[in-house]
Subunit: 365 residues, 2 copies
DNA sequence: TCCCGAAGTTCGATTTAAATG
DNA sequence: GCATTTAAATCGAACTTCGGG
C-alpha cells in the first residue's frame, strides 16, 4: 500500500510529521535530513544552502523528532533520574529547584520520582527509571531508603549516580553534603557570643550521620571555648524520623528539659523543625523567645523566615547543592560515555549562620 | 555477522536482555514470547505450560522490555505529564502527593515539570512533555501561565487535560477546584460565632478568580448575618503574586489596618501566608494572637499547624484534589483511546474549617 | 474450524558503508 | 581522492498474516 495513502487515512489526531515527510518535502533523502538536523560529523560536507533548505522546511512543517525512535536507535535517552525521599519536605523542594535550574541549560531533561519515605516505592521507582534508561541518577535519600543492594544494581548497570544531602562512608560514591560539624559549631558559637553559658541541646536521631557530625561540631567548640556541657541538658530525638516527628520531638524534649529544672537560657536544636517544636513548647509554658530563651535551628527551611519569631538558623545552600550535584553527574556521564573512569567526587558545602530574631544577647545579670 | 558474535562483543555495560534472548532461551519465537508476556488476545490459544515456561525464563533472564521500542511500535507511552507552577510552594507539593498516590496504582507513570512561575519555562516543558508523547496532562497552574493559545495546542494534539486549583470559565475543560465561597464564608462565620463584629479583611489579588469567589462568600455571610462590612477595613494584596509576597503583603496591610485606628478584633486573611504575615505584624506591635486579635487563614499549608500560634484556617483537601484530578484524567484518556467523546468534568471540593489556636472567643465586655 | 506457532512487516529515527560526478 | 548524497542495516518490540496439525 502506498505510503501517502496510509498517511492520508490516519489523519485527524495522528498527524505527526516524521523525518520522512521532511525528506520528501525537501527533495533530499532521510539520511541527509538526519545528518543536517543533528549536525552530525558528516554535516560539514553538506553545503550551507542545502542545510538551510532542510532546516527551514523542518521548521515550517513543525517537525519534531520522535524521542522513542531516536532513543531506540541511538541508545541514549538524554534523561537523568531524580529520586527524592519526600517531596512534601521543604528541604527536598529547594534542592530540586537547584537541580532543575542547572539541568535546564543542559541538553538533559529529568524524570522525577517521590519515594515518600517508603522503601518499596523507592525500589519500584528506581526500576522504572532504569527501564527508561536514565543516563544518570541523583538521589536525595535518607538512610531508610538507601543501602548497598540498591547501589550494586546501579553499579552493574553502569549508571552514574550522585547523592545529595548524605554521604556513604562505606562506599566510594559521589556526594554533595553540608559541613554539619562547621554548622553546628557556628550555631553554638553564636549562642556563646551572645553570652549564653547554660544551653540545652536537642540532638538528632542517633541513626543519622548528620546527628553525629553536628555533635562533633558542638563538642569541638565547647572544648575550644572551655564551655562545659551538662549531660543532663542533652536530649536525643528518636530514630523514627520524619518532618512532623521532629516538630513533636522538639516539643516534647523541650518540655522534658524544662522539667529538669536546671537553669538554662538557650536551646541548640538539631534542625529547624525541632526548633519550631521547641519554640511552641516554650510558648505553651508562657516562656518567650527570644526574651526568656534563645533558640537556634539548622537548615533554613522555607517557614523559618516567616516564623514568629523568625528563626535564627544555619542555612544550607540548597539550590547550590542541587546545582553541584548536577555538575558532578554530568561530568560522570560524559566520562562514562567516553569510557573513561571517573573517580567519585565528594563535595562538602559550607553552611552559613543566619541571625534572625529567635536569639538574643543574654541580659547582663 | 552472526548475532551471537555481535552480542558477545558488546558485553560489559550493554548487556540488556531482549525479547530475542528470551525467544532463543525458551525455544519459542519472538512472536510467541511477545504474545505471552503481554497477555495479548491471542494468548488464550497458547497452552499454559508454554506460557509458564516463557514467563519463567523471562524472569530468570531478568528480561525487561525496552520502553522505547514498545512505545515506538504501540504508539502508547503509558505516561502522563504533570506541570506545577512552583514546586517550592507547599500548596503544590501536597497536591502532587495526591497525584502520585493514585497514579501509583495505575499502569501510568508521570513525568513532572516545574514551571517556576515562568511562562517560557512552562511552554518549554509543555513542548517537552508533548515530545514524550504524554497521553494526558495535569496542570497546577496560576493565571500567569495559562492562556488559550497553550490550551489550543493540547486540543489540536488531542491530549486530555485537567486543571487543578483553578477553573477557566471561558473554556470547557476538566477541573478540580475548591469551593472558595463556601470556605471564606465558613471562616467568617467562625469569627462571627466567636463574637467578633469588627473585622479586618485582607483580600487576595484582584487578578485571581479565587479572590473574587472568596469575597463573594464573605459578602454572602455578612448579608445573611446582618454584619456590616466597613470599607475602611478592607485591603487588597497586590497583583504580583508569589508565596513570599503574600507574607509581606499580609505584614504590610496589617500595619496599614492598624494605622487606620478603627477598633477591630480579628483578621480574615486571604490565605495562610497572608495570615502569617498578619500575625508577624501584630507581634511586632506587641499585640498578641489570639488574646488581642484572632486571625484566620485559608489553605492549611504545612507550616500552618506548626506556627506559633497554630493557625486556624480553612483546609483545602489537597491530596484528595490531586487524586480526583488523576481519576478524571484517566477517564478522559480511556475515552480518547476508545474514540469516545468525553465531556469535561468540573468538580468543586468542599473545604473544611480547622480550628486551632489563632482564633479565640471575644471576651465579654 | 479450532488451536498453536512463526515469518515478516512496521514504528521513526541513527548510522554505516558506498555510490555518484 | 574529494565533496555530496543516499541505500540499506539496525535498534527492540508489536502486530498482521499465514501455515500446518
Amino acid at each position: 500500500m502506498p505510503f501517502e495513502f496510509v498517511r492520508g487515512l490516519i489523519g485527524g489526531s495522528n498527524l505527526m510529521v516524521t523525518i520522512h515527510d521532511v525528506a520528501k518535502s525537501s527533495g533530499f533523502s532521510i539520511t541527509t535530513v538526519s545528518i543536517v538536523l543533528n549536525d552530525a560529523p558528516l554535516a560539514r560536507y553538506i553545503p550551507l544552502e542545502t542545510k538551510n533548505r532542510i532546516k527551514k522546511i523542518a521548521k515550517t512543517l513543525g517537525y519534531r523528532p520522535n524521542v522513542f525512535a531516536r532513543s531506540l536507535r541511538s541508545k541514549r535517552s538524554n534523561t537523568v533520574g531524580v529520586i527524592v525521599f519526600d517531596i512534601t519536605d521543604p528541604y527536598c523542594t529547594h534542592i530540586l529547584r537547584g537541580i532543575e535550574l542547572s539541568l535546564y541549560q543542559s541538553s538533559y531533561i529529568s524524570i522525577f520520582a517521590d519515594a515518600q519515605n517508603d522503601r518499596a516505592r523507592f525500589e519500584r521507582y528506581l526500576e522504572m527509571l532504569l527501564d527508561r534508561r536514565v543516563e544518570g541518577l541523583i538521589t536525595l535519600a535518607n538512610s531508610l531508603l538507601l543501602d548497598l543492594d540498591i547501589l550494586a544494581v546501579l553499579e552493574k548497570r553502569n549508571v552514574p549516580m550522585v547523592l545529595i544531602g548524605r554521604e556513604l562512608k562505606s562506599l566510594a560514591m559521589s556526594a554533595v553534603i553540608i559541613d554539619n560539624a562547621a554548622g553546628a559549631r557556628a550555631a553554638l558559637e553564636h549562642l556563646y557570643t551572645l553570652g549564653h553559658r547554660h544551653i540545652g541541646f536537642i540532638r538528632g536521631p542517633k541513626m543519622l550521620a548528620d546527628s553525629r557530625e553536628r555533635w562533633k561540631g558542638v563538642r569541638s567548640f565547647a572544648h575550644d571555648a572551655g564551655l562545659v556541657l551538662d549531660p543532663k541538658m542533652i536530649v536525643d530525638l528518636t530514630d523514627l524520623y520524619d518532618p512532623t516527628s521532629a516538630f513533636e520531638g522538639g516539643y516534647k524534649l523541650t518540655q522534658e528539659l524544662l522539667r529538669r529544672e536546671r537553669p538554662f537560657t538557650a536551646i541548640h536544636a538539631f534542625d529547624d523543625m525541632t526548633a519550631f517544636g521547641a519554640i511552641r513548647a516554650l510558648g505553651k509554658s508562657k516562656l518567650k523567645v527570644p526574651d526568656d530563651y534563645s533558640v537556634i535551628g539548622f537548615d533554613d527551611v522555607a517557614p523559618a523566615a516567616l516564623y514568629a519569631p523568625p528563626l535564627t538558623t544555619i542555612r544550607q545552600p540548597m539550590e547550590t547543592m542541587g546545582a553541584m550535584g548536577v555538575g558532578i553527574l554530568l561530568d560522570a556521564i560524559t566520562a562514562s560515555r567516553e569510557s573513561r573512569t571517573f573517580s567519585p567526587v565528594q563535595r562538602k558545602v559550607a553552611p552559613e549562620l543566619l541571625v534572625r530574631e529567635s536569639t538574643k544577647a543574654l541580659a547582663q545579670p
